[in-house]
Amino acid sequence: MSPIRSKIARFALASGTLLCAAAAGTSPVAKAAERCDCNRPEPVQWLVAEPMPEGSPRQLFNDFLFRRFQRVAVARDVRVPAASLAATLRSIAARPDPGTLVMTLDRNDYAELTREPSNRDLLSKLSLEVANARLVTLPLHVFVPDPRVRRMPTAGRPLRLLYFTAYNVPGAALIASIERMLPQGTKIKTDDPWPNAETLAQQLWESGDDRYDLVAILDEEPSTNVARFLKEYRRLETCDRLKRQQARGDVSSSCAQLMQRACRGDALRDADRDQVRQCEGSDGPSGPLLLPIDLGGSTSVPPNQLPAPASHLMTVLIDYEGQEFYDFRTQPARPGAIAVVRDALQGASPTSDAYPLLMTNLRARRGACCAQELRRVLGDVYIAMMPLVAGNRDAHDVQASSPVGSYLLNAVLLGRDDALRSLVLYGRLREQGDEEKAAVLLQSRNLDLRASPDQFLKRLGVKRDDNVRRQFSGDPVTSYENALQEICRANSGGTSRDKALERARKLLYACIESNRVPKSMQSGRGLWSITQYDPYWQLTRIGLIESFNVDPGPGCP
């Protein structure tokens, strides 16, 4: 199977995302946020339905996420058997508690629950959200601008989807796959031919019936069109934000100049984004969010016979502007998974407040008040993707690669002017032989591969390694080996985790200073060598561990 056909097959077989966004201001969570007391965080009660699907609880609630739940509501964690979930909900409805959130990870349970109109009614009356309530799986990176969140498509109006792909994916097959996963009756409309990328960005940004609702980016890498699209979108977004800021009379002269440039159509640079953040102060930007979804491994299963998940793997997500998102991934091990997904979505109406928007902008949904609390809630509940990773990849692969792609791509496409992760992604693209995309990445991120170690570390804001001995030795192999050991030491737990990661980071900086580029085989002092030498990637790995407590590997000996 050719790579493209393989990707298409994977695309068709992969499944995607639940992004439950409480779309409008009527969202129960939004209401809860509005009601919360800034000075006294509202305790949140989690009701976790049990039994969980086979294999999923431990994985879904593993490590970071589970601890996070406990941090939020450790005092009031109540577990209820799945069989009595409906009864529990009724009892809660009798005593409405805006701080109560119910989470069930068994979509069958939820599907069963929502089949009953009375239950749906019950759910709508409660200040209650159910994670994974409506599963939408899209093997795409989905992107929706902030304003769309408040203007969901009305009934009868087709969802206008714009998708980017560098591959020759048959449009009809793509649309059919997406429609199959959306609530029944949801129609998707695309334009053919597309306008150019800049025009698309404007159409997405603007309001009106001709607007686009969703943007999907197939695969993990940016194409030329995507890069141009995002660039234009960012410009429009910056212009709009600063205009609003100016309307509030809170814009400095430098910010005003930046706004003028952005609104005039001048391209923005990385440094401009920094200034935008400064201009917007603590409120932060409300930029679009793009969630890349790994298509998973190839499979020979026809697109209309998606395998079903038997287990779930919780993996990363993305750190964007300080926000955190989680990516729930499943492995297809039993047939009929798509049917499960579809059934789970049946109860959702495209016109409901909880229409399963594929993407939302969290920043725009919170005020200065209660930001932390809302972020925790949204981070845990509302933003949850459930792509089905198809095919023959084992659990390790899924866990190892999924967060990487998300982490890297988001860093690249959404700013965070993270040269480090950009370089790692660049390396990945080169490894895969995607020279064209690698070139686009270089251009879009202004990466200078000729940058000296000094320049690179300066860009990272890192002081030179002050270890004279390491500098003298100039042996990247030993430093790299020691860094890996420190990472493994950090993974083994203990209070020295942060220190171990910091030591590892310093060692990796020393590797970078030794001016050696990532390579499959790195030589060092004497005959010593090491394979898969990539200090940039290891630095990214440390970031993943620190941010998400997820180690994409490789494993420790």
Binding site: V468, R469, F472, G474, D475, R525, L527, W528, S529
Partner: protein, 425 residues
């Protein structure tokens, strides 16, 4: 470095001296060792395979001896062992009309080097043991009338066994990212057992016996400069050592035309390990290719000391003294290359090198026309001073944290097979 070879010549000639029959029937037994070679080169099969070149590279645990400043290259603990098999080929002048020579020697297999390196911040400590000389020889040749000097030269026979061990505490300190200094305090011991006779085993005429040991403190100082990531330049100075040994005379010695029996008389002599100064450089031309070169100045002139015992012609009338004898200082040149092939988890290396070994035999400088001086001139100056050329080749493999190397060195004076292992902790 591999002076053993030419040293053997020295011993040969000196035993040839022993062979002096008529007027020069004595021998300078202590001179048996003055041409012996020392293993002053870098230990380790890796260095041996590259023409015994390591001063400018010095990037493993053997640097403790070859250039202590290079210890700063190590970022983690390392242990190194070396075993060596040496076939000694000592060329001795035997009495004859045309300066004929014969080769004598033995084969020696010994654990020759051990070191442990411990990095501590910007400093490095090292403990090491290095055998810089392990010489064994048994020789015997017949006497003959030599027309050139118009006299009969006795035959000679004898045995030589010399062990020179060093035990060192090495230290290095990195001053800047480009410069490291290092030094080693060395406790050096000598164990000598020699016996030389003129004449034949059935009719020995005279000779000396030396069975003694001594120890000295000495030192090594080195510097390693890295002007770039791929080039390093090193310098090292080895202070040498002078041991005082007691030798016992045997037999009768001609003095003023009369044989004087001196059996049992003792004399103090000195055994010298010469000073050495070396310059070296390495260039990592490619990821897998490193070129190295050393130039070493060996102060062989140190070998002739005030206690240089002139066994022949003790008669003061012959007016022979230490001033008549000398060994010239020499420059040794070493060069080599290492090519590495990296595989997943395994590195293979092949090496080759070449080195020079300038002649450093004992030389005699006549000061008058007396017969004794003619005989000495014949004994010590007959063999042309030539520079030997040695070739080395070898290989190595590194797997995980273990490295094993092997090297073969071929030269006119000695052939060596060296096996060494390095373990990183």
């Amino acid at each position: 470095m591999k002076r053993l070879v030419s040293a053997s010549r020295a011993a040969a000639s000196l035993f040839l001296v022993v062979a002096c029959a008529t007027t020069a029937r004595a021998q300078t037994n202590e001179r048996v060792w003055e041409e012996l070679d020392f293993r002053l080169v870098a230990p380790g099969a890796r260095a041996a395979g590259m023409g015994k070149t390591f001063v400018g590279l010095a990037d493993d645990a053997t640097a403790a001896f070859s250039n202590p400043a290079g210890l700063s290259n190590l970022l983690e603990e390392e242990v190194s062992f070396e075993f060596q098999a040496v076939r000694i080929k000592h060329e001795r002048l035997v009495p004859g009309a045309y300066g004929q020579t014969e080769r004598f020697g033995d084969t020696v297999v010994v654990p020759s080097f051990l070191s442990f390196v411990l990095p501590l911040g910007q400093s490095t400590l090292s403990l090491f043991s290095n055998r810089i000389q392990d010489y064994r020889e048994e020789f015997q040749f017949a006497g003959r009338f030599v027309d050139a000097i118009g006299t009969y030269q006795d035959g000679a026979f004898g045995t030589i066994a010399v062990k020179n061990d060093t035990y060192g505490l090495g230290f290095s300190y990195v001053f800047t990212p480009y410069l490291s200094f290092g030094g080693s305090l060395v406790y050096s011991t000598i164990d000598v057992a020699t016996s030389g006779r003129s004449g034949t085993p059935l009719n020995p005429r005279n000779g000396t016996d030396t069975n003694d040991t001594d120890a000295r403190l000495t030192g090594i100082a080195g510097m390693l400069l890295k002007p770039s990531r791929t080039v390093s330049v090193g310098m090292v100075y080895y202070a040498g050592a002078t041991y005082t040994l007691q030798t016992t005379l045997f037999g009768s010695f001609l003095e003023r035309g009369v044989d004087v029996v001196r059996t049992g008389e003792e004399r103090l002599v000195e055994y010298v390990v010469p000073r050495r100064f070396a310059l070296g450089a390495s260039w990592r031309m490619l990821d897998g290719l490193t070129l190295v070169a050393d130039a070493t100045r060996v102060m062989y002139s140190d070998l002739v000391t005030d206690r240089f015992l002139v066994v022949d012609y003790m008669d003061t009338e012959e007016r022979l003294s230490a001033a008549n004898f000398s060994v010239r200082d020499v420059w040794e040149l070493h060069a080599g290359a290492e090519y590495r092939h990296y595989l997943a988890g395994v590195t293979l290396a092949v090496r080759a090198g070449v080195f020079t070994d300038p002649d450093h035999r004992l030389q005699f400088t006549p000061t008058n026309d007396r017969q004794a001086q003619k005989v000495m001139d014949y004994q010590f100056n007959t063999i042309d001073q030539e520079t030997d050329l040695g070739y080395t080749f070898g290989g190595g493999v590194a797997v995980g944290r273990t490295q094993v190397d092997i090297a073969v060195s071929l030269s006119p004076d000695r052939d060596e097979v060296t096996v060494s292992m390095v373990f990183r902790h």
